[in-house]
Amino acid sequence: MYLYFGLMLKAEVSKRQDARICIIGGGGTGAAMAYDLALRGFSVILLEQGELTSGTTGRHHGQLHSGARYALGDRAIARECMEESLVLRRIAPETIEYNGGVFVAINDEEADYANAFVNACQESGIPAREVQVAEARSWEPAINHKAKKTVWVPDGSFDAFRLPLAFFAAARQLGADIKPFCKVTEIEVKAGRAVAVNTQSLCGKKEEKICCDYIVSASGAWAGMVGKLAGLDVPISPAPGTMLAVQGRISDMVLSRLAPPGDGDILVPQRGLSIIGTTQSLADNPDCILPDKKEAAFLLERADELAPGFSKRPVHAVWAAARPLAGRTSGDGREISRDFAVLSHAEEGVAGMASLIGGKATVLRAMAEKAADLVCKELGLDAVCRTRDYVLPSWRSFYKAGSR
């Protein structure tokens, strides 16, 4: 067998746990959870109503956040992004384009923001530094020549499908049972404890009852709907955003607006495409979110401010995805933190179940670690997280290993 890594460490289970964990949701977080728990020795089954990563995960623009975007608002989130982007780089290198990024101040107001921004980054452990606009434009001539200030940050971009799939591949190698196209229809709660889920496959309406010792809802924007199945009220705000891709790779680096987070402020390369994102609104139902085509013109206009000429390129696709904001809001949700939380539902009368809410793709591994820690604590078992330690197998091995 031929391997591309000189030193590929194969993850192995050191101690089997006598507990079966059911994960609901086959996105990035579910993928990282399945791997984490399987590596800790649990018997793991993961259920996803559609194809893996078909909810929010796969539609992500793919920015690997250094955390710079969040540094002024929340140093802790920024620090976590920086740490996790380096971990992902180490464990899934072939799914990441690590070309760095540039924050661009277009007007005087944004330029005034630069010092505070760089300081906040450095306080968060992000090695950001201001560079001359001419230097930034020597890396990426697409950057607006009218830029007032430019800051280098260690951003990158990743394949929003293949990165999670590498976690799934690792989980499956460790014995996790990964079941796409399997919808949870009911969560059985007996004597104050979640004990089983009932599932239905789409075609043929096959039904199956799965008994388990613990249920983790890693269903992102769907956490409210999954919670309801157990009679829970999970505070989640599905927040759809529209993204637009044009043909042509105008930049290898991620370009961001040097301003507080807002609509249309990041430009991410992806193979032969350039993506501008994102807008934000709120929805009751995260299912089947379609793009608001009226937002396309706005996104193109914003993209032109960062990289003039963007809107002259042929539009390749316009699509939308629902972020899983943790909490509730009466506004557009921008005020909600992008932090994540693991909620134990024991105090609400459903022991043996937790929901993961909020978070961002870059911190998927850390989200899984915290949630798996809670599972261990609540089951009274002692097993440490080891997902930082191994290079993940190729996503290709997930499909190679068989159909179910």
Partner: protein, 263 residues
Amino acid sequence: MSQRLAFLLLIKNDCGKDGQADAWLEFTLEAEPEDTVLDMLERLRGEGRPVPAYRHSCHHGSCGSCGAVIDGVPALMCLTRAFSLAAPHARTIGGPLTEPAMEKDGRITVRLEPLAKMEVLEGIAVHPGRLFGDIPDGLSYLVCSDAKDKAELPPEPEASSVNMRTIQKGWRQRLEACIECGLCVAVCPIKIPFIGPYALAAINRERTKYPAHEKDMLAIADKPDGAWPCDRHLYCSMVCPQAVYPAKHIQLLKNSLLRNRKS
């Protein structure tokens, strides 16, 4: 306001291993000209209609999961737009453009089927395992190159250092163009054992990037089910949504094998 188009979608509902007979399910809906086939399926599903299972993830032609046979030709559902189905389009690879099929009431008929040669899970969702079955898992997916007209990039933070053969300092990284959608494999007319266009394109890329792997890669191409069964129908290159041109890679492999035999 753009004019809405009326469609009759006929979706093959194969229940895969579960043994139910194939059936075509019919759905009537309206779409904006810019809507994609995937948008249409999502809208139907959102309305609670019993749409057969389909695969999808990125919705912009990057993941490669939503391939299907659309009116006889394999394509990505997320990049096939309503207006192109309402206009004359080919019903076979490279075939003549034909007016869309219409119902008496003016609805445009579009047929969706699962990709050929793949194991059908449910509906039009297939398992793409056969794509990857014949190649080493570890074929690289990153391309690292000098940007020529652009300056060298600042180095990565040191903590990210990983034993990667692909990365050279200051060079630019990019994922391979191939999104492993399998359209090329589904459309290939070769009937004898053949590892197929996707695998051969991937191994040709590997040896191009890493000359040290030339021997291993050529050995795969030289097997009876390697490059030799290819008859150059070129359908693979015609359906590729990413302009990978698998047929070109196959020919380059054959050329090298023949050259090695002579010498």
